[in-house]
Subunit: 235 residues, 4 copies
Amino acid sequence: MTDGAEPPPPTGRRGLRTGRLEAFSDGVFAIAITLLVLDIAVPGGPQPELLRTVAALWPAYLAYVVSFATIGAVWLGHNAITDYLDRMDATFVRLNLLLLLFVAFLPFPTRLFADYIGADRPERVAATIYGIVLLLTLTLLWGLWRYAVREDLVRPDAADEEIQLLTQRLTPGLGGYLVLIAAGLFFPVIAVIGYLGIALFYILPVPRRWWAVRRSRRPAQRGPGRSRPGDRRGT
Amino acid sequence: MTDGAEPPPPTGRRGLRTGRLEAFSDGVFAIAITLLVLDIAVPGGPQPELLRTVAALWPAYLAYVVSFATIGAVWLGHNAITDYLDRMDATFVRLNLLLLLFVAFLPFPTRLFADYIGADRPERVAATIYGIVLLLTLTLLWGLWRYAVREDLVRPDAADEEIQLLTQRLTPGLGGYLVLIAAGLFFPVIAVIGYLGIALFYILPVPRRWWAVRRSRRPAQRGPGRSRPGDRRGT
Amino acid sequence: MTDGAEPPPPTGRRGLRTGRLEAFSDGVFAIAITLLVLDIAVPGGPQPELLRTVAALWPAYLAYVVSFATIGAVWLGHNAITDYLDRMDATFVRLNLLLLLFVAFLPFPTRLFADYIGADRPERVAATIYGIVLLLTLTLLWGLWRYAVREDLVRPDAADEEIQLLTQRLTPGLGGYLVLIAAGLFFPVIAVIGYLGIALFYILPVPRRWWAVRRSRRPAQRGPGRSRPGDRRGT
Amino acid sequence: MTDGAEPPPPTGRRGLRTGRLEAFSDGVFAIAITLLVLDIAVPGGPQPELLRTVAALWPAYLAYVVSFATIGAVWLGHNAITDYLDRMDATFVRLNLLLLLFVAFLPFPTRLFADYIGADRPERVAATIYGIVLLLTLTLLWGLWRYAVREDLVRPDAADEEIQLLTQRLTPGLGGYLVLIAAGLFFPVIAVIGYLGIALFYILPVPRRWWAVRRSRRPAQRGPGRSRPGDRRGT
C-alpha cells in the first residue's frame, strides 16, 4: 500500500491477515449479538391482554440484555487483545476460532434460560448451563490473551504494566462465574443478574484504561527514537 | 501503514480502532435490517387464495418498511457522527454499544406490530411499544452525538455551524416520536405511518448536507496551511 | 493514512465513506444470501422415507439457487458500479438503501415460491410476486448506475465505451423479467428457471469484461502523465 | 491511498477488489457459521427433566461442532488461497460465489442430521447428504486453488514448494470424504465423527505452515533486490 523508498515493512502483510481475522470475528460477534432478538417471541394465538403478555416476557429481555452485554464485553476484550498484538501465529488463529465457537453458541443457552425461567427445576438447569457457557467463553478469551503474552505476540512498545493490567482485568470474571454458577443452583435469577454484573464490570469501569491509556502515552513516543515494529521487548 | 520520513501519525492507530467500531456497528445495522424479513410470514396450511393472503400481510410490509427506513436513517446518522469524529474514548464506545442494543432489538417490536394490527387493544399496545423503542434508539443516537461534541471528540476542522446543523437535525425527531406515541394510543396505524415519516425526514431531505457539505469545503483547505489533525478547535 | 509532503488527497476521505457504504452493502448482501437457507425445511414429524421427503423439497432448492444467483449477480453489478465511482452524493446513498430494501426482502418471495409450488393457482401468484421483486431489484441497480452516470459520479479515467458496456449489460435483464413475469402466469416453474437464466447471464458470460477489462488498460496508464483523480472527463 | 512520487501501483486497485471479495466472503462464512446455532432447539412444551432433554440434544451439538469446524477450516483455506493471490479474474470470482453457495447451504444438512439421528433409515440418508455437501464444498475450495495456480493468479514471490504444499493439503480431504460417505451408509454417526476429523485435520496440524511459513521467509526478501509485484515467476 505504501510506496516510499524502503520496501514495504512486514507489518503490511501481517496487517492484512489481522484484518481478515478481525473482520471475520467482528462478523461473528455482530451476528451472534443480533440473533439474540430471535429468541424473544410472543406465544402464538390471540392476545387480548398484549401488554400483560409482553410484560411476562421479562426473562427473555433479561436474557437478551445479559447475553448482549456479555458478547459486547467479549468483543471489547477481543479488541483490546488484537490491538496489543504485533503478529499472530497459527495457534492464535485456531484459539480464536474456538472462542468464536462459544460466542456463536450463546444464543442457545440464552433462549433456554428465557424459556424455562419460572419452572422450578428447569430454571436451575438453564441458569447453570448458561453460566457454564459464559464461563467457557471468558476462559477462552483469557486463554487467547495468555497465549499471546506467553508466545511474545504482543507489540514490543506495549509496557509491561499494561499487559499485566489486561491480565488482571480478565482474571476476576472467571472466579465470579464459578461462584455464580454455584449460587445459580439455588437462586437462578440472581445468578443471571450476576452474569450481567460481570459483563458490566468489563464494559463499564476503568474508563480511559483499556481504550484510552495507550493514547495518552503516544505523544511521548512520537520522536524519531520511537521503537520500531521490528524490535523485541527487552532487547 | 505508511513508511515515509515522519513517524506514523496518531491517526493511524485511531483509524484502526474507529475502523473496528464501524465494522462491528455496520455488521449489527446490516444484520438487524436484514433479519426484519424473517418477521414476514404467510400463515401455514394451504392457501387457495394466496394473493388475498399475501395482500392481507400489509401490516408486515408496512412494519418492514418503517423499521428498514428507521435503521437506515440511524445508520446514516451514525455515519455522519463517526465521520465528524477525530477520536473516540471509552465512554463513546460504550454508548455506541447501548445504541446497538436497541438497534438489534428493533425486529421484536416490528414483529409485534405486524402480528397484532387489526386487533383493537393489542394494536395500540404494539404501536406504543414500537414507538418507545424507536424513540429510545434515536435518543441514544442523539446522546452519542451530544457526548462527542461535549467531550471535544469532533475533528478540529469541522465548522461550528456544521456541528450545530447535525444537532438541529437530530432533535426534532425526538419530539416527533413523543407526539406520535401519544397519538398511537388512539390511531395506532397513523402513528406507525408517522414513524415512517420521521425516518424519511432523516433519509430524504437536506440533500448535499450530511453527506456532501463537507466535501465542497475541502478544496479550500488543501493548502499547506490546512489545520493538522493534532490541533484542537479554539486553540 | 499517508504522510508525505503533499496534503492527503480528497480521495482519502471519499475512500472512507465509499468503504462504509460498501461494507454495509456487502453485509446486507451477505446476510440476505445466507438467510435463504432458512427457507429450506423438512416438514416436522417422523419421516421414514427421508430421501423421498428431501427430494420433494426440490422447489426449495430451485428457489435457493435462483435467489442466491440473483443476489450474487446484483452483488457483482454493485461491485462493478462502485468500482467505477469517483465519488458518491447524498442521493446515491439513498438509492443504494432502496436497492438494499429489496435485496433484504428477497428471502420472503423465495420462501413463498418454495412453499406454494405444486398448488395450481397459488404457484402462479408466487411466481409472479417473485418475478416482480426480482424486476424491482434489478431496476434499482440499473437506476443506481444511470444516476451515477448522469450526475457524473463516475471516475474520469473510465472510458465511455466501458460505461456504455455496463449500461448495455444491465438493460436486457429488465425486458427479460417482464417477459418471464407474463409467462409465469401460465408456466410458473419455467418462469422461475428463466429468472435463474437471467442471473446466470449476469454472472457467467462476457468473462474478462466487468472485472478484467480495466486491468488490461492499466499498464498503459502508469506513466507520469496519467490522469489525476481530480480531472473531469472531457476537460 | 499513497501519495509519493510514483503513481499508485496497480496493486492499489486490485487490493480494493480483493478486499470486497474477501469482505463479502467473510460475511457469508461468518453468517453461515453463526446461523448453525438456530438448528439447536429444545422441543416445545414443559420439560420437567430439562437436563435430560438438553443432554438428548447431543446430535445437534455434534452437528454444530462438525459444521462449525468445517466452515472454520474452509475459511482458513480460503484465507490461505486469497493470501497467495496476486490478482483475481472473472472466473475466480464466479467460482468463489459457487463455493459460497455451498457454504451458505451447510446449515440445512446440519439440521437434517441433527433431527434424524436415532431413526434407523433416515439417519443414514441424513449422514450421506451431509457428507456429499461437505465433499462438494471442499471440492470447490480445491478447484478454486487449482484454478488460481493454473491461471497463474498466484503471487510471483510464492515458492513452488509452498504452492504444492497447499495443493497436497487440500487433496486428501476429498478422498477422506468419499470413504466416509460410503461408511456412513452403515455407520452414520461414525461417518459424521469422521467429517469432524477431516475438518480438524485442516484446522489443527502442520502448525506454522499455512499461516507462518511465509513470514519466516520474509526477512530474507526485504533487500532492494526483492521481487516486485509486477514480475512473473520464472521470468
